[in-house]
Symmetry: C2
Subunit: 193 residues, 2 copies
């Protein structure tokens, strides 16, 4: 039984500026360099007007090799799930060919994100297989722009930590916050206010 | 600056059995018919061995018109985010061309899901724009198979309800649970245990 129109197909792709902002060949040995990349992706997303002021990156922890980035693509791709972190998880898993980054043959992976994850992204963090999360701006920095973060509680973080995921807060918070402010100054869309 | 290999592209598509299970033309006037479709999708996903025992469907509430279905596709598509509910949200938004199903020009939408949403899917529910969620099997039914549900608390539901989303629990729970049991009996993979 066929319907018309045909079934939708969801394509998740980077915006075309990604290679001008992301150096895929370089290693990112320190937390600071890793966070700076996540923030650079967030900033480019605002400057190029391709989405909300949020960026993320996934690295192999020991080597600092970059596996994937993600930038908020909710409005660009008409998809409420495409927060920066979600896109980074999907792209990383596509690249390694595994639904978890914690597969036995893989090195330890970690997520850097320019802002504290929302409820959806925090849940996905658990399924993603990353072992460590570092975030920049805090929930209240996003809330000041009227971005919603959803039902995240102290117990939510505790739940992840009890399952071996380390959480590091407020990495380069001022730089991350500056991207949020830039978005506000430009009158950027608050798509989930 | 180009890297090799080229950037991954994530494609989210239905498995090829979808039209043999889903009647896209029919209207689904009652909650029971809507839930039965979500469960049928879950069951087919197990029978055809295309994923975990979870299915979802999104309807226009007033007319009962089917907008999208979703089936767990985590293993099939190497993507930890592709729970049944997430796929349903993405497909529905792609179809209507909006990042929210709560856009002013759209009728009220609702989600039917064969099992209580995990933390990620509950967060996404808030961003999706659906105004009502009906679920079948409960968290503890999934936990018995060692499926994790993540950090979901009573306050999580309260958070959604305070924002106007109605939650209806345990619709056709026994039928929904039977699909979970069928998956267990077949030795299905527990991909997030």
């Amino acid at each position: 039984m066929k319907r018309d129109p045909p079934h939708p197909v969801v394509h998740v792709e980077y915006p075309d500026w990604v290679d001008s902002v992301v150096d895929w060949k370089e290693a990112y040995p320190t937390d600071e360099e890793r966070m700076r990349l996540a923030i650079a992706v967030a900033r480019a997303n605002v400057e190029r007007a391709t989405g909300g002021p949020f960026g993320a990156a996934i690295f192999e922890a020991p080597s600092g090799r970059l596996v994937a980035v993600g930038m908020n693509s909710v409005v660009r791709l008409n998809n409420c799930a495409l927060h920066g972190e979600m896109m980074a998880f999907m792209m990383a898993q596509q690249r390694v060919g595994s639904f978890t980054l914690n597969a036995p043959h893989l090195p330890v992976h970690e997520l850097f994100t320019s802002c504290e994850p929302c409820a959806m992204c925090l849940g996905a963090t658990l399924w993603s297989g990353v072992q460590r999360v570092v975030y920049g701006a805090a929930r209240q920095d996003a809330s000041r722009l009227h971005f919603e973060e959803g039902p995240v509680f102290p117990e939510s973080y505790q739940y992840l930590e009890e399952r071996g995921i380390r959480i590091v807060r407020n990495g380069l918070r001022d730089e991350a916050r500056a991207v949020l402010e830039m978005y506000r100054a430009r009158g950027g869309k608050i798509y989930n206010g």
